[in-house]
């Protein structure tokens, strides 16, 4: 479904990606592991059109998207839940969800989607008219995911959904994400620092270090890998 081939990207003079190749199959869950600053978030930014790659190509459903605008990419069915959630803090929970559906024009569908998402995230219904900034960390992350789903994506890019959350809260988020993946058939590309959760959640993983893919394999195999275990799983 998503094919990233040999992309390079830089922030000004600093090169962040040196030829990264990744494939995400339809309906699958793939994770990118690696230390801070390795370029994991940059990969997501390239896919969602926030950053233009200097070389390589990105294909979604066989169509090249690396020269398209972020708006066009959302419309094609890719939704990016960014690092640090990036909610509209002063706007209400409901307004945040409506912004997630900004590219859609079917108001009936939007209404029924909000109702359906309330099933996954009951707290959002309760907090509907509260400013997003007043929610707890876990609630904000739920809102960020729900907002990301409001565009009816077929591919969801998730950047560190567990960051700063208590283990129990983060387990909850992953449970919901698994449900979303299975029940809605939404493909997920997950960036995560917590390798244990990521590898138990995803079927396939890539390890990114200094802008390159150093290892890739099925999650079960990665868990057995000596280097991955020592560097990321801590045993």
């Amino acid at each position: 479904m998503l094919k990233i081939e040999g992309i390079e990207a830089s922030y000004g003079p600093v090169k962040a990606l040196h030829g990264v190749t990744i494939e995400v199959p339809e309906g699958g869950v793939v994770t990118l592991l690696g230390p801070n600053g390795a370029g994991k978030s940059t990969i997501l930014r390239v896919v969602s059109g926030l950053l233009r790659p200097t070389a390589g190509r990105v294909e979604f459903d066989g169509r090249r998207i690396d020269r398209r605008s972020a708006e066009a990419i959302v419309t094609m069915g890719i939704s990016h839940v960014p690092e640090g959630r990036q909610l509209f803090d002063e706007m209400t929970v409901h307004e945040n969800l409506m912004l997630g559906a900004y590219t859609r024009h079917d108001s009936d569908g939007i209404r029924s989607d909000i109702k359906r998402l309330n099933g996954y995230f009951p707290i959002l219904e309760e907090r509907r008219e509260q400013p997003a900034g007043s929610l707890s960390g876990g609630e904000q992350q739920q809102l960020a995911v729900a907002r990301g789903l409001m565009s009816r994506p077929r591919l969801l890019l998730l950047d560190e959904p567990s960051l700063g959350l208590a283990p129990l809260v983060s387990r909850d988020i992953f449970r919901i994400l698994r449900q979303v993946n299975r029940e809605e058939g939404i493909t997920i590309l997950l960036v995560e620092q917590d390798a244990t959760s990521a590898l138990s959640f995803a079927e396939y993983g890539y390890v990114v270090e200094t802008g390159r893919i150093v290892i890739e394999d099925a999650s079960d195999k990665l868990k057995e890998d000596e280097n991955v275990r020592r560097a990321y799983l801590g045993y």
Binding site: G49, L50, E71, V74, P82, F88, L99, Y102, T103
Partner: protein, 310 residues
């Protein structure tokens, strides 16, 4: 009893007091509208637009030419609003867009440059022959009795027009998808792009709206002050005071600030103690009041202190 005030005290002449308050509200609504333009631009692009008044002037002059050519006053007003809209959008696209992500000081210099540029061009084109020029109002200058005081129809027209514009903007921002997108862009442009919002278009629209509101302000002020290239300067100064008073990022703040400044200016002008200060002290006294408010509310009455997470 010693005469403390230049004018009879409010309790001796309530009619004069009422007149001053109402005409203060009318000029205040002018400040409020221009301040609204400043806030619209500041919120969406983080730019303090010093050229806001000159943009208004640059709309008013061609409208004066249209009036001379025989266009009826209301037609002129609507064409002027449309021209202001186009001018605002055009300026954002061509002059502001290239410096949008540059340091704030560069952008300030650009808007100051725009100020001088528009002023010079207007002087070159229109400031020939007799100055200042008379600009007609569709509201006329008749005196009417509104119960507490007698005021001019033009003042009432200004007040009604300003309230109508504020109402339209309120509905736009709070009840339309476009308004939702514009507010989102003002809060967080990066996340807005991820929502599929065309951020560039929203920024341009913010400038265009500010330009349209500014154009209307110019055409409402010109009948009072008459028309010359720097006629918006004093208004701009008061509008800035109003915007800062209300909070640079708050549209309701701009409106409250505008009315406050307008009324305060009028009352200070009328009731300054005659043996110490004359009416020419109204501007410093108004500004002093603002400074006192800002001491207690540094971000303005309704503004948000920007917190930076580290």
């Amino acid at each position: 009893m010693i005469e403390v005030f230049l004018a009879p005290a409010p309790w001796n002449d309530p009619e004069l007091f009422g007149e001053q308050v109402i005409s203060g509200l009318a000029t205040g609504s002018i400040y409020a509208l221009l301040a609204l333009g400043i806030v619209l631009i500041y919120r969406s692009t983080d730019v303090v637009n010093f050229a806001q008044g000159e943009m208004a002037m640059f709309v008013t002059f061609p409208m004066w030419s249209l009036t001379l050519a025989g266009f009826p006053p209301w037609t002129v007003i609507f064409i002027g609003i449309a021209l202001g809209f186009a001018l605002g959008g055009f300026i954002e696209r061509t002059i502001i867009r290239p410096v949008e992500d540059k340091p704030p000081l560069s952008v300030v210099v650009v808007t100051l440059g725009l100020f001088v540029f528009l002023n010079s061009i207007a002087t070159w084109i229109w400031a020939q022959g007799e100055l200042p020029k008379v600009f007609s109002t569709p509201f006329e200058f008749n005196s009417v009795d509104v119960g507490v005081a007698r005021v001019t129809t033009h003042s009432i027209g200004i007040l009604v027009a300003a309230l109508a514009i504020m109402g339209v903007l309120y509905l736009l921002f709070n009840y339309t998808k476009l308004g939702l997108g514009m507010r989102a862009t003002a809060h967080n442009p990066g996340a807005s792009r991820l929502m599929g919002i065309n951020v560039g278009r929203m920024l341009m629209l913010g400038w265009a709206l500010a330009g349209a509101v500014g154009g209307l302000v110019g055409m409402l002020v010109a009948p009072i002050t008459f028309l010359f290239p720097s006629f918006m300067l004093a208004v701009l100064l008061y509008a800035f005071a109003a915007a800062v008073f209300g909070g640079l990022d708050s549209p309701p703040g701009a409106i409250v600030g505008g009315f406050f400044v307008g009324v305060a200016e009028n009352l200070f002008g009328t009731y300054t103690p005659s043996d110490i200060l004359g009416p020419e002290m109204k501007l410093p006294l108004t500004l002093l009041l603002l400074v006192i408010v800002l001491l207690f509310r540094p971000a303005g009455l309704f503004g948000h202190v920007r917190t930076r997470r580290v």
